[in-house]
């Protein structure tokens, strides 16, 4: 199944690149740089998906105590952090020519940065613990608390920023049909990418576990 999906992924991502660079027309005001959006938004969507799955499987792990669910949760966290970093890199690249600044303390940007910090902390907590049931339990606890914290952070940053004048307001864009198509293709390709990375990473963790069992048994 992994092989099949991989064979599907290669042309899918190429097609997404084709749609983003050639099929979609340039944006009227932002120009060519807007094309980074197709990947920026797709990566952001993947983060949300990945962190939601992390939360879900953390809860399931605490309820069942089955190690498989920890593998799901931690793999999702690792992939989520990679894509969150991509969002944080592509965002300023787009913002510099369009907003004329790399970064603003806008609620969405700031919340995203804190989200990234929380999940990096999750990975660091894991990295600093010896392999045991305790490690899985504690990371599940942190995965749940981190997820609960995100809406509170968003609320607080929004209030914090309203004290100062809001420099940039986001306005809804009227998307050209080709742009919409490119967006959907990119979203689909990235979701497929996530599924494959999850399968690979979970497979690796399973192998790691089996090998350590075997070595322990010798």
């Amino acid at each position: 199944m992994r092989a099949m999906l991989l064979v599907l992924l290669y042309p899918a991502m190429l097609f997404a690149l084709y749609c983003a660079f050639i099929l979609a027309p340039p944006e009227r005001e932002m120009g060519e740089v807007q094309r980074i959006f197709y990947f920026h938004i797709s990566a952001a969507w993947l983060c949300m998906l990945a962190f939601f799955i992390l939360f879900l499987f953390s809860v399931v792990y605490l309820l069942t105590g089955n190690r498989t669910y920890d593998v799901w949760a931690s793999s999702s966290a690792e992939i989520g952090v990679i894509f969150a970093s991509l969002v944080l890199i592509t965002g300023p690249l787009w913002a510099k020519p369009v907003w004329n600044t790399w970064w603003t303390w806008d609620p969405r940007l700031t919340t995203f940065l804190i989200l990234w910090l929380i999940y990096v902390a999750y990975l660091l907590l894991r990295a600093n613990m010896p392999e045991s049931d305790k490690k899985y339990k504690l990371s599940a606890v942190f995965g749940i608390l981190g997820f609960i914290d995100v809406p509170i952070v968003f609320m607080s940053i929004r209030w914090w920023r309203t004290i100062h004048p809001v420099v940039i307001t986001s306005t809804g864009m009227n998307l050209d049909p080709d742009m919409k198509a490119a967006m959907f293709v990119a979203l689909a390709a990235f979701t497929l990418f996530y599924v494959i990375l999850m399968l690979l990473r979970m497979g690796q963790k399973k192998l790691d576990y089996e090998i350590s069992l075997r070595l322990g048994g010798l």
Binding site: A3, F21, L207
Partner: protein
């Protein structure tokens, strides 16, 4: 210009894909080895 960009990114993606595919192959090999070992 966009064609060049497309080509450049397609190249980057191809390289990344080859890396991921190699990981997949390696993993399959290890999975098979472990299975053989378990049967013994």
């Amino acid at each position: 210009m966009n064609y060049y960009l497309f080509a450049a990114y397609a190249l980057v993606w191809t390289a990344l894909f080859i890396y991921i595919f190699a990981l997949h192959r390696k993993q399959e090999a290890i999975e098979k080895k472990l299975k053989d070992l378990a049967e013994k």
